[in-house]
Amino acid sequence: MAKEGEKKKAISRLKSMYPLRAKVDETYQKSVEAMKAGKPTVWSMVNWWEGDVILKAMDLEVVYPENYSTVCASAGVAESYLNRSDADGFPTHLCGYSRNTFGYTSRMIKELGSEIPPEAPMGGMPKPILLLSSNCICDARYKWFQALGRYMDVPVWALEMPIPGVKELAMEGCYERSISVMVTHLRGFIAFLERLLGKKMDWDKLDELMRLTEELNRVWYEVNELRKAKPCPMHGRDFWSAMPASLFLAGDLKDTLECYRAMYDEVKYRVDNHIGAIAEEKYRLLFGELPPWHSLGFFDKLAERGWDVVIESWAYHPPIPIDLSKVSDPLERVARFSFQWHTGYFESALKEGEYFGYMAYPYLVYAREYKCDGAFMHPLISCRSASTHLQYASEMLMQKAKVPSLTVEGDIVDLRLFNPADALSRAEPFEEAMEHYRKVRKEEGFDW
């Protein structure tokens, strides 16, 4: 029997993933260097490209407290920040990312005179000159930055994205009205940035950066399309490592685009040569929501059982590509691109009588197209908005695709809320369920 150290890794990681993963580390280093050089830094919520490309065009270094909170969790310092948030009077049920940020900021401002805490991992987040929030996905993401006002007098800009319903978006004029409000809003945002920074927007640069954003996401989308192959050439772990470069527009975008192209080539090679991400793909899994960042080794254990994560939550995937070549205004392209991410599945959702057109409905499309045997749902206790849809998604998958779900609660920050041993103990019964529903699907005429 092979010793533990000699054992082959259950998941064959993509070589092209590593440079993409490194992009986010670079971002933190750059922001600290920028601060040392007296350059401004922005704290931003993930905004699905609505604001990022504008910040980049204005040469601002951006860090993402949501992402940084996972870094703090992984480094084991989140708990002290969470405790500090509680002590400062914030309700304990608030989003774990926000509580981590409250604690971090409280320590930085109240104790250290705005110096980065020495224990802060990856160089920390320097005090910002701007807080960019977003109403996309959840209330927390535009409320929490305003609540930071008790620690620092930093201006907050709340990005606005319309969130109409599936049926309502199909009403005449609603789509274009949504684009129009976003474009006008973004013009206001740029005017605000120009006042804040005392410099003008370089519109040519914005145009170029937006084109790069569209292209790198198109390539990234195509990479994920390749994962429909059997065996799946890329495991979810590589997805989670590679997605931040797209979500946070990390690094030099030309370089980031090349990294995604390299990933496409590697994944395509695997598809052409029938190379799977795991040795023996027995079950193709859809993963609902963010993974337990602190326990990613858990997926290797599942891979040893033949569980392959072939597709993940809609929210972290790039939009379905749309042709924006005829749109000359870069702000309109930003708006259309970002709104496409949000509403790209609405039309087909409406046809199927599904009204949770983002978040929940895409799982149904994924289950069919990626031929999933089961869904691993991971509700995040402290991230309600991202998890709310999972309950309904499970029901929809069963009703409409005869795909069973396994729900294991956990969290993105608080590692005490996820129990890998308990989750693994549920693997075998769930395999039986997946086998059973394979037969049911066959009997009912499904094609997988």
Binding site: P164, G173, Y355, P379, E395
Partner: protein, 390 residues
């Protein structure tokens, strides 16, 4: 209005059997449109002869079916509402309007549509900011709502009818403010518990009947001799949907008079009037996006200022509560929220800081929207009241 009772007794009767009137109206041929939260433009529905009916959860009913659509770590009020829907409590509805007042309601709206079909359903998106372009977008959303309501009602909504409905609802707002004025004396003429009962009754019956009820209640409490007793604590309660008298009774029963509130089944929905504008949709747009002081909207003193001024921001967000404190002679405040409410949860430190700036003692209390939450709530309320008297 049906029945013999009047005033407070009538309000209590309606509170205890909320759907009775709606079912009577339905039997008479009216279409009943359920709505939740205070962001649904009732004026439009009433102007189309549709009957708006306020939807609430029920903290006395164990939530046993909502897991089908919503997780456990989620707004317990919305979970309870969905639970009641799945159990058939709202089967008499002909339609529903759910506004995007918060993330929990937005997500519940989508789940509701999928799990509990109703003949008419409209989800009303509401921007989170109050910029000029947000107002323009929101007006477009209201126009879309008007179209679907017209189609559902089978008739067109004229500006004249809409204006008339706005005036009737403004009358209700004025009457509610008059009722709240009766809580300024010490002791107040009407308790917080009774007041909540009246407000919830208003959300269960036609607006004209509600106005008549309010007139009766105002007249009754002005004349009665057995109103609330004088107590040392005169509290302001800040909350979101506070829809069960047991919650208010728990605070008042701990030894306080709740003399003013900033709650959704309370003052918040009646604090401001809708402006009568040439195009009545302009008045509605402005009211529903900018005049309701709810935590769901991103507000600051001057949007887009590059210099942050927190004191000015707090004043712009909560300045109206300074008036409450002064006019109602408040000496303590309770921030009362359900667990898992994000918009209000993120506002807790903001409101606390603002009350601190007024030298007003305050406490934050959390509950789980169940009867089991009441005993611990009472203990914590009592502890706070002790600090006020010491």
């Amino acid at each position: 209005m049906t029945g013999e009772n009047k005033g407070l007794t009538k309000a209590k009767e309606i509170y205890q059997d909320r759907s009775r009137r709606a079912k009577e109206l339905k039997a008479g041929g009216k279409k009943i449109v359920g709505y939740n939260c205070i962001y649904s433009p009732l004026e439009m529905m009433a102007a189309l002869d549709l009957e708006p009916y306020g939807l609430f959860g029920d903290m006395r009913e164990p939530t046993s079916k909502a897991d089908r659509g919503l997780p456990t770590a989620f707004c317990p009020i919305m979970r309870s509402l969905l639970d009641l829907g799945l159990k058939g409590r709202y089967d008499f509805l002909d339609g529903m309007v759910m506004p995007h007042s918060c993330d929990a309601i937005e997500k519940t709206a989508h789940v509701w549509q999928c799990l509990i079909p109703v003949p008419y359903f409209h989800f009303l998106d509401i921007p989170c900011t109050v910029h000029e372009e947000s107002l323009e977008y929101f007006k477009g959303q209201l126009i879309d709502l008007k179209k679907t309501l017209e189609s559902f009602a089978g008739k067109e909504l004229s500006s004249e009818k809409l204006r008339k409905a706005i005036e009737t609802y403004n009358e209700q707002r004025a009457l509610v403010r008059e009722l709240y004025d009766l809580r300024k004396p010490d002791p107040p003429f009407i308790s917080g518990t009774e007041s909540l009962q009246v407000i919830k009754a208003l959300m269960s019956i036609p607006v004209e009947e509600g106005n008549e009820l309010l007139r009766q209640v105002i007249s009754e409490v002005k004349e009665r001799k057995n109103g609330p007793q004088k107590k040392a604590a005169r509290l302001l309660v800040w909350s979101h949907i506070l829809d069960d008298v047991a919650l208010m009774e728990t605070i008042e029963g701990a030894g306080a008079n709740v003399v003013i509130d900033d709650c959704c089944v309370g003052r918040r929905a009646y604090q401001a009037d809708i402006d009568i504008t040439e195009d009545p949709l302009d008045g509605l747009t402005n009211y529903y996006l900018t005049k309701i002081a709810c935590a769901r909207t991103f507000r600051e003193a001057v949007f887009g200022e590059t210099k942050k001024d927190r004191i000015a921001d707090l004043e712009s967000k909560f300045g109206y509560m300074k008036d409450y404190v002064n006019e109602w002679n408040v000496n303590g405040a309770v921030l009362l929220l359900v667990r898992f409410c994000d918009p209000f949860g993120f506002e807790v430190t903001e409101v606390t800081d603002y009350f601190n700036s007024l030298d007003l003692p305050s406490t934050y209390l959390e509950h789980g929207y169940s009867e089991g939450s009441l005993a611990p709530l009472r203990t914590r309320a009592q502890a706070f009241l002790e600090t006020l008297s010491s």
